[in-house]
């Protein structure tokens, strides 16, 4: 089943609107990690924000511009997991603004273990291109699935200095 068919199944109406076509193109490009397809759907000046602990998983955080987003999708994210599909629960379309939610199916990079990530995306398109994406996911669940074990919240992260603070010659 194509991405568009999956989208039409989740959409409130049967036929795909031009906006649903844009949504389908974006998620197909995102899933495939295909640079040409991403290049085709992303605006040059896209704003991209994924809420989450960027100090652990550096695909989280804010990025600006097509090059930075393509790097995040094709190089940084696959260091942790490879997306195999999107299952949608909601697709809301309001003009050129879109909100989606559902589950991402992915494979953890080192173990090949299947992981499922609950997500919500807010998308904005302009002239058929994505100009903004903001994402929220259940990041505690994502972290446990990516690291592969329960997280002990009482365990504090240790900060290790790479060089003494007063040793400027080492920097």
């Amino acid at each position: 089943m194509s991405e568009a068919e999956r989208l039409s199944r989740a959409a409130p109406v049967g036929a795909l609107s031009p906006m649903h076509e844009c949504i389908a193109r974006f998620y197909a490009a995102y899933r495939s990690r295909d640079v040409e397809r991403l290049d085709d759907i992303l605006d040059d000046d896209i704003e991209w924000f994924m809420a989450g602990p960027a100090e652990y998983f550096d695909y989280y955080g804010a990025r600006r511009g097509k090059t930075a987003v393509i790097e995040a999708v094709t190089r940084i994210m696959p260091c942790y997991f490879r997306i195999s599909d999107f299952d949608f629960d909601h697709i809301l379309v309001d003009g050129q603004r879109v909100a989606t939610s559902g589950r991402i199916r992915a494979r953890q990079r080192d173990t090949g273990r299947l992981i499922r990530i609950g997500f919500a995306h807010f998308l904005r398109f302009e002239s058929g291109r994505l100009i903004s994406l903001r994402s929220v996911s259940d990041t505690f669940d994502v972290a446990e699935q990516v690291v592969g074990h329960p997280i002990d919240v009482t365990r504090e992260m240790e900060c290790v200095s790479l060089a003494p603070e007063d040793d400027f010659s080492a920097v």
Partner: protein, 160 residues
């Protein structure tokens, strides 16, 4: 015929939601409302699924309000499509045990029926919220010694 969902209707729901007032919140919900909140119940025991006005009111005005009452919802983006609305928000809440102010990103998908909320799905940046509640940076890569394998604990940890 369904009442049109407008930005004003969505904002009226949040005005009631932030009060923690059972009467005001009850006036915005259908009798069979469903409420689903994704998150680690080990940190946020109010996460999970509720069905029906009484359980949802109990969740919002007692269970959740006793742990992490919401003080403010900054609606940064609203998408409305038919009887559904999605809200991208920054939530400000108070961790009652410590008095800490906790601020985190959250998305709500609301479904309306006859001008009342009939379903809510909440998803939040729970790692960030957990660190703020716990009060320190969490070491995600530290594997608990002698702990149950993740696969055995998954059902307990990620009860949705």
């Amino acid at each position: 015929m369904d009442v049109p969902v407008t930005r004003q209707l969505v904002e009226a729901f949040y005005d009631a939601f932030t009060t923690c007032d059972p009467g005001r919140i009850a006036a915005t919900l259908t009798h069979d409302v469903e409420w689903q909140m994704d998150g680690p119940v080990s940190v946020f025991p109010f996460c999970g699924h509720r069905r029906g006005k009484a359980p949802v009111l109990d969740l919002l005005t007692r269970h959740k309000a006793e742990i992490l009452p919401v003080r403010r919802v900054d609606q940064e983006d609203i998408v409305i499509d038919g009887q559904r609305a999605a809200v991208f928000a920054k939530i400000t809440a108070i961790h009652k045990q410590t008095g800490r102010v906790v601020v985190f990103h959250c998305v709500h998908f609301l479904t309306f029926r006859d001008g009342l909320v009939s379903a809510v799905y909440c998803i939040a940046d729970t790692f960030d919220a957990a660190e703020q509640v716990i009060g320190h940076r969490i070491d995600a890569y530290h594997e608990p010694q002698g702990g149950m394998p993740f696969s055995d604990r998954q059902q307990d940890i990620v009860v949705i």
